[in-house]
Amino acid sequence: MGIEQTLGHIPALRRYARLLTGDAARADDLVQDTLERACVKWSLWEPGSVLRSWLLSLMHNLHLNHRRDWRHDDGHAALDDVPEPAHEPLARLGERLDLQRALAALPPSMREVLLLVTVEEYTYAEAACILDVPVGTVMSRLHRARERLRELMSDPGETPRAHPLQLVKP
């Protein structure tokens, strides 16, 4: 089947874009642009290759462009609107918010590599291919991403986050 087969990847692309951008609206914009780009470039996709990887590489190029546009924003971190914490056990809420915040604080180039390798489970070589950079670059970004995340997650300068919901607990 033709371009329609990209539709089956939409839920996964949206989930991935959400983590990448930290923002629901931006994520869907990114997915929309990715799909449009995929339609335009459809003839360039090699049917033997993995469609998801190809779509992700399109997404990463677009993400790069979006970032250039957003650089002139007022500099707010994308995580201004933290997703609503419904249905999340309180014990894990703080941890999850910390992680989301730390992820958002990573430079995007590091975040991309980290997500491709850990969440999407691409090999280093595949990630390099998707991002169109040498494997060595993937490794150094991955290293810096993990070290940075470690600092961010254990930063004692960060005021401990109160759990506001605990205040309403009886």
Partner: protein, 269 residues
């Protein structure tokens, strides 16, 4: 340290965390970690990060795919296909016409022709069938929101979809075949909206019935049952009295054929 273990690089530590380390280096990395507590602590934290990130990814609920997103793609896809078809030129059009006249909806591979993937059995089917296939591919895997309105209130569901499509609809009962109605959703279509009913059996297999109610000027010509196989997926479609129907399942042709007869019989009751 008496015997300094073989040097291990940071890259190898990452590869260990990501399960990408060459098997013959695992022993060396483990020995290294035993004698280098700082590295062991870092690796443990990286492993924790990895687990947490994966957990975070799993917990992200993006909800239903917004219709606008699908709509845009469907339009772009239609456009791309028209363009491609135009570029393929008259020869392809003749081939298509011959294929249709012969009643062949099954893909033929043209020797040295189009690359695989660019053409398929579906390419020759009416647009609403391709819409149906796309909607099936998108919503059948949905775990949380496979349908927009559940079958809990079937009368309301059918009434609502009928009103939005501007034509009376029926949701056939497939209980005799082991499938129960999960519910339905309203979808964009070319010109008029479409309805999708989804059914599920005990094993969790899902089939969809896609319905288009065309306006007089937009209705494709009436067709008897046509079968399209696309990978493991079987689609039957037919057009009758300005309604277009597509029943799609991931089952064998025989199984789907049984469902189609049932649907057809109930719709014409």
């Amino acid at each position: 340290m008496k015997t300094a273990p073989e040097a291990v690089t940071d890259d190898e530590l990452h590869a260990y965390v990501d399960a990408q380390l060459d098997a013959d280096r695992v022993a060396a990395v483990l020995a290294w970690l035993q004698s280098h507590p700082d590295d062991a602590a870092r690796v443990a934290q990286w492993q924790l990060q990895r687990a947490q990130l994966r957990q975070l990814a799993r917990s992200v609920d993006v909800g239903d795919t917004p219709p606008a997103l699908l709509d845009g793609v469907m339009r772009a896809a239609t456009h791309a296909r028209r363009l491609a078809r135009w570029q393929q030129g008259a020869a392809a059009a003749v081939l298509l016409a011959v294929g249709l006249m012969a009643g062949m909806a099954i893909e033929r591979s043209v020797e040295g022709g189009r690359p695989p993937g660019s053409g398929s059995a579906l390419a020759a089917a009416p647009l609403f069938v391709r819409e149906a296939a796309a909607a099936h591919a998108v919503f059948v895997p949905e775990k949380r929101h496979p349908v927009e309105v559940t079958a809990a209130d079937e009368a309301h569901l059918v009434q609502w979809l009928s009103r939005r499509l501007g034509a009376p609809l029926k949701a056939p009962s497939l209980g005799a075949h082991g499938y129960h109605l999960l519910g339905g959703r309203l979808l964009p279509g070319e010109g008029t909206p479409r309805a999708q009913f989804m059914y599920e059996n005990q094993q969790g297999s899902r089939v969809t019935l896609f319905v288009a109610a065309f306006t007089a000027d937009a209705a494709p010509s009436e067709t008897a049952f046509r079968l399209v196989r696309d990978g493991t997926r079987t689609s039957f479609y037919w057009v009758e009295e300005r309604y277009g129907y597509a029943l799609i399942a991931d089952g064998s042709e025989a199984e789907v054929r049984g469902l189609v007869s049932e649907v057809y019989a109930q719709l014409n009751r």
